[in-house]
């Protein structure tokens, strides 16, 4: 029940709705008592022959009015209680989403998208259940259950009531137990299903390999055995699920038998009428739902507890990178002084960067060279202030970057990441990501600079082409060039290209770099690349190895140094060099 206390902020906020909804629920519980009683009275009157037309009409009118009132009350409690629950899920989802947008990259490094999605869907769903079904079952099992039992005991016979109630606690216990078991087995069934899903996904992605090796039948066999697992796991669920109905019927049958057996004795003794007996058995039927509800209640609240605490835990994670007090509200510009003594990614033993020092004058282009894992990307991530906690300083213009407001710092930086992520919307909107209201001409201009304009015109929908699953599938090179256009459209003071041309052919790469050089005259650019050809025009190249600068200089200077750069260069060009010599 802890979760109901934790949700009290919401119940307070929705006080009117909940109070009104609960009042309606209780009202329905009371009205429900009328029909069996009236049936009983009429039966007795008929049996005794004392029924009159006026009396009958009176009862029937009362019944009809009760029916209509119940309809209205039932409508309102649903809208009030279930409606509030939907509102809660909306509020929680919004909170969570806004929280997600404030989280630093290290947060996403530690968690998988799938898990975060699960919080946003399953956990919120469970909390919604608690605020809706949870309240309903709580109120209904107490009010309907209580009223019915009281009515049976007070207006008919309290001894008989006690006897008839004997089997019911077993039902509460059993259905609640089944519920728990069901959830556990359901999880296994879900797992089996998701295995099947993964298998299908994999087979389709690897369809060429399967076709090449002629392993269609073997793969179908594999699929069949996984789908058999799905069947058996689901059967295990079904075996528990199928227990509910027979259990309820069985236990109520015992109740009926007990009440008729002892009821008959009471009738023979003259302590009870036949009408009472009929009313009693109808009341007994009314107890099915509150008893079930009582069993459900525990499961709903238990799930709600777990889910709510998972959500609050997530919401309590503070963003690792915050604006300092009195942060500068001005976009940085000017020279860049990068002085890092040491930096480790959170949770890493090894330093990603150590003793990396360089200065980049405004308007200069710098190349960063090195193997995967040498620290190229780490430099860019620090410049973006995605990570902190380094020893040293990064000064942009006249102030360290952590003195600026984060938002203002990012205004100055255009970033093209290694893993080009595009959104599933139109190409135009992807390029105009930083400013959806920017003019078409600007979009085309950026696309032309990134040498993707012609490709885009080649699609049937042009700039209106949708990207992703539901739209056109782009080649890696096209995606990279769109990412570049997206960064260029903001005309950033500092452009960071993180190996962004790897999937583009050499000719296009050269052309893109040329147009960057021509248009970005007064602005700073940092390019990391595997391909050395991308960097030869840079004002300065640094060579990274195991997180530190081992060489620096211009392309020509580095070649003359005869060091690691030359070695990498030679390895890339070894065969070519030999051939060139042969030709000359």
């Amino acid at each position: 029940m802890k979760v109901l206390v934790q949700l009290s902020w919401f119940f307070k906020q929705q006080k009117k709705q909940y109070l009104f909804g609960i009042a309606m629920l209780v009202f329905v519980s009371l009205l429900q008592l009328l029909p069996p009683k009236i049936i009983g009275i009429i039966v007795d009157d008929i049996a005794a022959g004392s029924l009159t037309a006026e009396g009958l009409t009176k009862w029937l009118v009362i019944l009809a009015v009760a029916g209509i009132l119940m309809y209205i009350a039932r409508y309102y409690w649903r809208v009030m209680i279930f409606g509030s629950a939907v509102l809660l899920s909306k509020i929680m989802r919004e909170k969570l989403f806004n929280h997600f947008t404030r989280m630093s990259p290290s947060f996403y490094q530690k968690r998988r998208v799938g898990d975060l999605m699960a919080h946003a869907t399953n956990d919120i769903g469970a909390v919604q259940q608690t605020a809706g079904m949870g309240i309903l079952t709580l109120v209904d099992s107490i009010s309907t259950g209580g009223f019915v039992i009281l009515t049976m005991a007070i207006t008919i016979n309290w001894k008989l009531t006690l006897i008839a109630l004997i089997p019911l606690p077993f039902m509460i216990f059993l259905t609640s137990y089944y519920g728990k078991l069901l959830r556990k087995r359901f999880r296994f069934a879900q797992e089996a299903f998701s295995n099947l899903n993964d298998k299908t996904q994999e087979s389709i992605s690897g369809i060429k390999v399967i076709k090449t090796f002629g392993q269609k039948n073997e793969d179908i066999e594999d699929f069949t055995s996984l789908s058999t697992d799905v069947v058996s796991k689901n059967m295990r669920v079904a075996k528990v699920d199928a227990l509910f109905d027979p259990t309820i019927t069985g236990i109520f049958a015992i109740s009926y038998i007990l009440s008729f057996y002892f009821g008959t004795k009471l009738i023979i003794a003259g302590d009870m009428s036949i009408g009472d007996m009929v009313a009693f058995s109808t009341y007994l039927g009314l107890l099915v739902w509150p008893m079930l509800a009582f069993g459900f209640l525990f499961n709903i609240v238990e799930r709600g507890n777990a889910s709510y605490s998972r959500i609050t835990e997530l919401l309590s994670v503070a963003p690792e990178i915050k604006d300092v007090a009195g942060a500068i509200d001005r976009r940085p510009e000017g020279d860049l002084h990068f002085n890092i003594d040491e930096f480790k990614f959170p949770g890493d033993e090894r330093a990603a960067l150590h003793n990396v020092y360089f200065t980049l004058k405004r308007g200069e282009t710098m190349g960063v060279v090195g193997k995967t894992g040498s620290g190229k990307t780490a430099i860019l991530k620090l410049l973006l202030r995605e990570f902190e906690g380094y020893k040293g300083s990064i000064v942009y213009g006249d102030k360290p970057i952590n003195q600026y407001k984060q938002q203002r710092l990012r205004e100055s930086i255009g970033y093209v990441p290694q893993d080009h992520f595009l959104f599933s919307t139109t190409l135009a909107e992807n390029i105009a990501f930083t400013n959806p209201r920017i003019g078409t001409e600007k979009i085309h201009e950026a696309a032309r600079l990134a040498h993707i304009h012609d490709d885009i015109l080649g699609f049937t929908e042009g700039y209106g082409t949708i990207v992703g699953e539901r739209g056109v599938s782009l080649s890696g090179g096209q995606k990279q060039r769109i990412s570049i256009a997206r960064a260029l459209i903001m005309e950033p003071e500092l452009l960071l290209l993180d190996d962004s041309l790897s999937a583009v052919d050499a000719k296009t790469e050269e052309a893109i770099l040329q147009s960057l050089k021509q248009t970005r005259t007064g602005e700073t650019t940092i390019i990391t690349s595997h391909r050395l050809s991308a960097l030869q025009h840079a004002h300065k190249i640094i060579v990274l190895h195991e997180g530190t600068i081992v060489e620096a200089g211009t392309h020509e200077e580095l070649l003359e140094k005869n060091g690691r750069y030359k070695e990498m260069y030679d390895l890339q060009q070894l065969e070519v060099l030999v051939e060139q010599g042969g030709e000359e």
Binding site: P35, Y71, M117, V231, P246, T249, A253, K507
Partner: protein
């Protein structure tokens, strides 16, 4: 997660789909009959119970006659029926589940097999996610129909029939009047169905939009933050969230008006009517109160199944839409190219010849124009050219991923179309540019599904291509886990595993699509030397992105816009000073600055 458009189905379409779905029941005829019998028994039991109580009230309670034997009989019958019911209803529920699950399994296997037989053309035009949805999610939606809808519908019908039989046997006149309930039920169901379909559709689409938005924002959070679009995304999300909320509220209101409360109201009306009928009847002539009891009880039994049917209408609707999508996939004619089953030709030496081959993916623009070349047994032919020049198309035709109509492709002077599929698969080995690793371990990725291959053979293959060098450094060596398409391995390492996989089958013909991106220099050395070894004694068709890797090829074809514009050996082509020479210079551009 994908928010696909749901096709609108007409009643006729639905009927066609339903008929086809029901055919899946045929193999389970026996089981279905047993389940139906159990269902009838369950329904009968639930109706006989109140009837016995009615007898007891009218014959014994009202008359105060309690002979021991008669009472014991009634008690025994009642208890017996209840106990019997507990078991019957349990087995009936399980039996239907079992049938439904097996039907869906069969359907899944059918769809999956169909997918496996589709041509690459289909995979080009259909996103992988939506194919996966057909195989798993859509069939899951159909499962819900078999599990809950059909049984509920049948049960409702049986209950209605059973209740009315009982009512007619008790009081034909009142039973006849009670038949009026049926059109009322029907009216509520029809009205409900009419509107609920749209409402449910709406809320489902809103939900999938909502989830898609969250998922995408989470994946692209780095970009959102780097470009300072948090506020905009939040606003967009709030908008979707708000719309989803409104749809949810509308649904609750709609259900409250027409579903639960409405059914309860109808029930109240029915009770008023029955009481009035018997009440006024009793004023004129005596009435057995037991009958009154049983009427109110049995009429009550009608309402629950009707409500359940209404609740499940949306599942039915969803299942129909899902099934129509699944059947559309099953009927797709884009199958992989067929082989002529004429003879049992065998590939002996592996000479490959393209004669005047032209090809188009879409039937409009030719991506290959009059391609002719010969690769003699054991020779290497290299394909060079820009993206989109047609290199991959040549490989796609040779691998029979696509059917060609113009020109001919011959292996050992026999048309490619005349070899049995198994022979082609056995004798040709393809290494893809982005080698695909499956979930499992290294060994299973080399062996694939070939159960006859020994671990020894797996190791020999790995050693041959020098993949063993990195494999043996892994903590679990050949048993090292491969997850999520091998993302824990570098692309060079994946390439080496793919080499080993291909070499293990010892093909006569080798088809290579050289890996381009991000291969570190150390792996690259291993890859180059393995390639050389692999090519020995095998006819090789290789796509080369780095001209340096194919200088020893017997024939280099330079492709441009689907045509072979130059051909010859490396030296010859350099001397021609044509496109190849230009490409070569471009790759060496940096170098000329230096020297």
């Amino acid at each position: 997660m994908s928010a696909e458009k749901h096709p609108k189905l007409t009643a006729k379409d639905q009927w066609v789909v339903l008929k086809r779905l029901l055919q899946y029941i045929i193999p389970h005829k026996k089981s279905v009959i047993i389940a139906l019998v159990l269902l009838v028994l369950t329904v009968a039991g639930s109706i006989v119970g109140p009837l016995i109580i009615q007898r007891f009230i009218d014959n014994h309670l009202s008359t105060m006659s309690f002979q021991k034997s008669a009472i014991t009989n009634i008690a025994i019958v009642y208890i017996g029926i209840q106990v019997f019911m507990v078991f019957v209803s349990y087995f009936q529920l399980i039996r239907f589940q079992d049938i439904a699950l097996k039907i869906i399994q069969q359907m899944r296997i059918d769809v999956f097999s169909k997918v496996q037989g589709l041509g690459m053309r289909y995979f080009d035009k259909t996103p992988a996610g939506s194919i996966v949805s057909r195989v798993t999610n859509d069939t899951e939606a159909i499962k819900e129909m078999f599990v809950s809808v059909i049984v509920t519908f049948l049960q409702a019908i049986f209950v209605i029939i059973g209740v009315y039989i009982a009512l007619f046997s008790l009081d034909a006149k009142l039973a006849f009047i009670s038949l009026l309930l049926l059109p009322l039920f029907l009216a509520v169901i029809v009205v409900y169905r009419r509107y609920s379909a749209d409402f449910y559709q709406d809320i489902r689409e809103r939900l999938s939009q909502l989830n898609a938005k969250i998922a995408e924002s989470l994946s692209g959070m780095g970009m959102i933050q780097a470009f300072r679009q948090e506020d905009r995304l939040e606003a967009e999300f709030d908008d979707i969230n708000e719309k989803h909320f409104r749809a949810g509220m509308r649904n609750i209101k709609f259900d409250s008006i027409l579903l639960g409360p409405a059914i309860d109201l109808l029930y109240a009306g029915a009770i008023v009517f029955i009481l009035g009928y018997f009440g006024f009847l009793s004023l004129a002539s005596p009435v057995e109160v037991g009958i009154l009891y049983v009427f109110t009880t049995l009429i009550g039994r009608l309402f629950q199944p009707v409500q359940q049917v209404m609740q499940r209408l949306s599942i039915f609707q969803q299942a129909m839409v899902a099934a129509s999508r699944v059947f559309k996939l099953m009927d797709d004619p884009d199958m992989e190219p067929e082989q002529l089953d004429s003879n049992q030709s065998e590939i002996l030496s592996g000479k490959i010849e393209f004669r005047d081959v032209s090809f188009s993916y879409d039937g409009q623009a030719d991506v290959l124009k009059n391609i002719s070349f010969t690769a003699n047994a054991g020779e290497t032919v290299a394909l060079v050219g820009h993206t989109g020049s047609g290199k991959s198309s040549i490989i796609n035709l040779l691998m029979r991923f696509y059917e060609y109509e113009r020109g001919g492709i011959y292996i050992d002077d026999v048309s490619l179309k005349e070899y049995p599929k198994e022979e082609l698969r056995k004798k040709t080995g393809l290494v893809l540019q982005d080698p695909f690793l499956f979930y499992g371990d290294i060994e299973s990725n080399i062996r694939l599904h070939d159960k006859k291959m020994t671990s020894e053979e797996v190791r020999t293959a790995a050693e041959f291509v020098r993949a063993n060098e990195f494999i043996e450094k892994l903590p679990d060596k050949y048993a090292q886990k491969v997850t999520e398409r091998g993302s824990t391995f570098s692309s060079g390492q994946r390439q080496l595993v793919a080499f080993a996989r291909t070499i293990a089958t010892n093909p006569k013909i080798l088809v290579l699509d050289e890996a381009t991106a991000n291969i570190d220099t150390e792996t690259e050395v291993a890859i180059q030397s393995s390639l050389e070894k692999m090519r020995k004694g095998r006819t090789t068709i290789a796509i080369a992105h780095r001209l340096s890797t194919i200088q020893d090829a017997e024939l280099i074809l330079v492709l441009h816009k689907g045509e072979i514009v130059e051909r010859g050996t490396h030296q010859e082509l350099l001397m021609q000073k044509g496109l190849y020479h230009k490409m070569y210079l471009l790759q060496n551009n940096i170098l000329e600055d230096v020297i």
